[in-house]
Amino acid sequence: MRGVDKSFPGVHALKNVDLDVEAGDVLALLGENGAGKSTLIKVLGGAHRPDSGVIEIDGRPMEIITPQDSQRAGIGIIYQEFNLIPAMTVRENIFLGQEPGRVSIVPAGKERRRARELFDRIGVALDPDALVRDLTVAQQQIVEIAKALSLDSRIIVMDEPSAALSPREVEGLFRIVDELKSQGIGIVYVSHRLDEIFAICDHVTVLRDGTYVDSKPIGELTRDTLIELMVGRKLADEFPNRAVAKPVATDDNEVRSGLTVSNLVGGPKVRDISFNVRRGEIVALTGLVGAGRTEAARLIFGADKREAGTITLDGKELSIKSPRDAIASGICMLTEDRKGQGLILNRSVLENFGLPNLSRFTVRGLIQQKRERDAFQAYVEQLQIKVSGPKQRAGNLSGGNQQKVVLAKWLERDAEVIIFDEPTRGIDVGAKFEIYLLMRHLVEQGKAILMISSELPEVLGMADRIIVLHEGRVTGEIEDVKLATQESIMDLAVK
């Protein structure tokens, strides 16, 4: 790709960007949120039409205007949101659109054989007749990869492929990437996890604010120099320092005891969970994907129906039947799925911010919009949210800024207990640190934070205490984080 340029109303998303992928090479495409990675991928996939610039494959210029053009040019894109039809089988999904003729009978046997061949090529075993909706996220990803291969793709682009995978599944993904590489397929790999970049990538291309920064072989880079390239400045630490001393016990310790959850049961995934989060500390709830972490948090927040168990805040039992109750009791939750659950994407950032806080801005039934805007503006400055104005649609923001809008909405609520589910998923390094800093700041103010994270470095860097779940039960608690290692957590998580 040469000199690719793309503008949207109000945003110059890509400014003269270059990208080179060689056969059998894994290229990491890096940049902070809003740097233009997603736009670049969409240009490559035919979803956006570039304003200028050329795309060449094997030295031949290609005109890519539609997704079909992109497929024909041998480019396979695996977006974060998969393009699979849940009610159809694996085989049908792979060969969707490749049926031999409009009215001829689909050769099921032949397709099944070809699907197996494709799975063999990437070294996995998957039943071609399984329904896609019954598959795990990792398996669905494999189906997407097989689909790309079935179209004879020579370049495969993966947009944050590891974001929703467990550590074990990520290893599987790496094996597949290696396999594809050895078959001469060029791969563009987008990820925020630097460990992964160093593990599997050969070259790195960095974008910043829609412009091309640099391309280098991975051997010439260190973790720190890479971060510098991405954020354009030096970063001192990945995590802020913990408070020097934990909040000491006081007379009203009993009253200020924070959130206590006892014998929580609900749904298939939460069997019996008890723990507490004191004011002034960050407690990490960790475990493998599917251990019931998010599910437990949703029960506390009233998002799902609780079958048994009590929730108390500062010694007082709460009756939580809905998120509305939880919010009124002083508990709020930042969901892991910001786009699906955290924000109303087609409404303005201001409306999203105001949603749980309207009672504060309402006088005699009417919303005082100036008051609301002023409150929002204060957070825009405090959290350095990049918005064009309060009327900007939430859907047009980058991941980090979306998370900041969600944060602003809950900060205004001034809740006592804040649940962060994967607080930095899909967020770039610079914004991550800001969010960590804010979490620290909140606990210093005496709030209680429950954090759910799949990233063990994050758990070790941020938590004051770690609670490990396995199959819906608490299998261990690590009081002293200094003694915790990734291995000791994993040990508890698989027990």
């Binding site: 659950q341 087609n346 409404r347 749980p356």
Partner: protein, 453 residues
């Protein structure tokens, strides 16, 4: 500029339509109002220095009566004498002229209007032959209001008429806009309109005292009618939320049930009127209380009451949607119900409220309809649901939910009304109009798609 057009596209379309029809319907206008009557009287008084004697001749219509009355009053205040006022047919005019021509020695003027001035007895040569027999009118002159060139579309009378005819649709469209913003649909509004009309009519006849019903009795009956529709709306909402039945299915069922109920009530009422022995017919339930017609046929400050009610409801709805928590909640639920719920929005409550409001609006429209026709018509409002949905969609509300503006819907309803009016003026048959409307709705949605890109 581009943004302005995108944001106000429907208003621009409406204005363009109005401009188009104004040009197309440009023609001679013949005023026939009391004001025109006063001008004619002034002209007569000015023409003759002595005490003037006048005969007023017009057709026998409500407007012509008002016109001739204005002429009479103005002549008399100006010191003239009105010898006769004729509201009738050309023969009446001839007889009156012969009479005054025989009885009085001098008749100065005939005051008439455009339609009557073309009658035979008022033609100059005919007047001359009459004057030969009845010399009293030999010096008579004919006066009528001055005509001028103006689009007949753009007359106050026509515009008020267009809006008034569509006030019912526009009122229902308020509720439908809210429902569609929550990504729902309500097909039952047309039937609810009829149910409310019939229920209110029966309540007035049997509970409020029929012809003797007082204001409180009438209001109570209206409350019963809208109450029934609101309950139906709440039922729709409960089905959509707690029982997770798709809105399309629930309201389709309600559309049939409510229509059936309206017919049952009407038939039973007619049967009871006939003594209960025979089966009734699905005719309108006549409302005998004369005061009830005020809402549908009356006017305040010269503006028909349905228009005033419609405007008041639109202002109220606009404030609710833009300035209150409920409005924000409705948009939020339409945009992303799960995110709204996790932000503390009572999603079920909001949805039930929205369907209840939609039912209530259909009920209010039913009362206007019943008042206009002075009876509850069990067959009223058929296919209204589709007209209303068309108005909402043309007004720019997205069927996908989360977006839409209340006044957009008003503009949408008016666009449809203006096109209909224009087609009627152009003499297009109603079957052909259906094709035009189908195309219009499609065009509106396509326009919306392009705008989004």
């Amino acid at each position: 500029m581009k943004r302005f057009i995108a944001d106000n596209g429907s208003i621009i379309v409406l204005l363009a339509l109005c401009a188009y029809y104004s040009v197309v319907t440009l023609g001679e206008q013949h005023p026939n109002t009391p004001a025109a009557g006063q001008e004619v009287a002034a002209a007569i008084l000015k023409d003759s220095s002595e005490q003037v004697t006048v005969v007023v001749i017009t057709r026998d219509t409500v407007q012509d009566r008002a016109y001739s009355e204005a002429v009479r009053a103005a002549i008399e205040t100006g010191g003239g004498t009105v010898l006769a006022v004729v509201n009738g047919a050309p023969t009446d005019a001839r007889l009156a002229l012969e009479q005054v021509g025989g009885a009085f020695s001098r008749v100065d003027a005939i005051a008439t209007n455009h339609s009557a001035s073309g009658w035979g007895p008022l033609k100059p040569q005919k007047l001359k032959t009459t004057a030969d027999k009845f010399p009293g009118i030999s010096g008579i002159k004919v006066f009528k209001p001055q005509s001028y060139t103006w689009p007949s579309f753009l007359t106050r009378e026509n515009l008020v008429n267009v809006i008034n005819q569509n006030a019912v649709i526009a009122i229902i469209a308020i509720g439908m806009t809210l429902v569609i913003i929550t990504a729902g649909i309500d097909l039952s509004v047309g039937s609810l309109l009829a149910l409310c009309g019939v229920t209110t009519a029966v309540a007035i006849q049997q509970m409020a005292g029929g012809a003797d019903a007082g204001t409180i009795g009438l209001l109570g009956a209206c409350l019963i009618g809208t109450g029934v529709c609101t309950l139906c709306g709440i039922f729709n909402g409960v089905m959509v939320t707690w029982f997770r039945v798709p809105a399309f299915v629930v309201t389709l069922a309600m559309m049939m049930v409510a229509r059936g109920l309206a017919l049952i009530v009407a038939v039973q009422y007619q049967s009871a009127l006939l003594g209960g022995g025979t089966e009734g017919t699905p005719e309108a339930v006549r409302i005998e209380a004369a005061a009830f017609g005020w809402l549908g046929n009356g006017a305040t400050f010269g503006i028909p009451n349905p228009i005033l009610l419609m405007l008041a409801l639109y202002v109220l709805a606009h404030i609710t949607m833009t300035k209150t928590s409920v409005g924000r909640y409705i948009y939020a639920v339409g945009g992303n119900p799960e995110a709204a719920r996790l932000s503390g929005v009572p999603v079920f409550g909001v949805l039930i409220l929205v369907y209840a409001i939609c039912g209530a609006m259909a009920g209010l429209a039913g009362i206007v309809d019943a008042s206009r026709f002075e009876g509850g018509r069990p067959n009223a409002g058929e296919m209204y649901e589709l007209q209303v949905i068309a108005a909402v969609v043309v007004g720019g509300t997205s069927l996908a939910g989360g977006e839409g503006r209340i006044f957009g819907t008003l503009v949408g309803a008016m666009i449809i009304a203006v096109i209909q009016n224009g087609l009627n003026m152009a003499g297009v048959a109603s079957y052909e109009q259906k094709c035009v409307f189908g195309g219009l709705i499609l065009a509106a949605v396509l326009l919306d798609r392009f705008k989004r890109k």
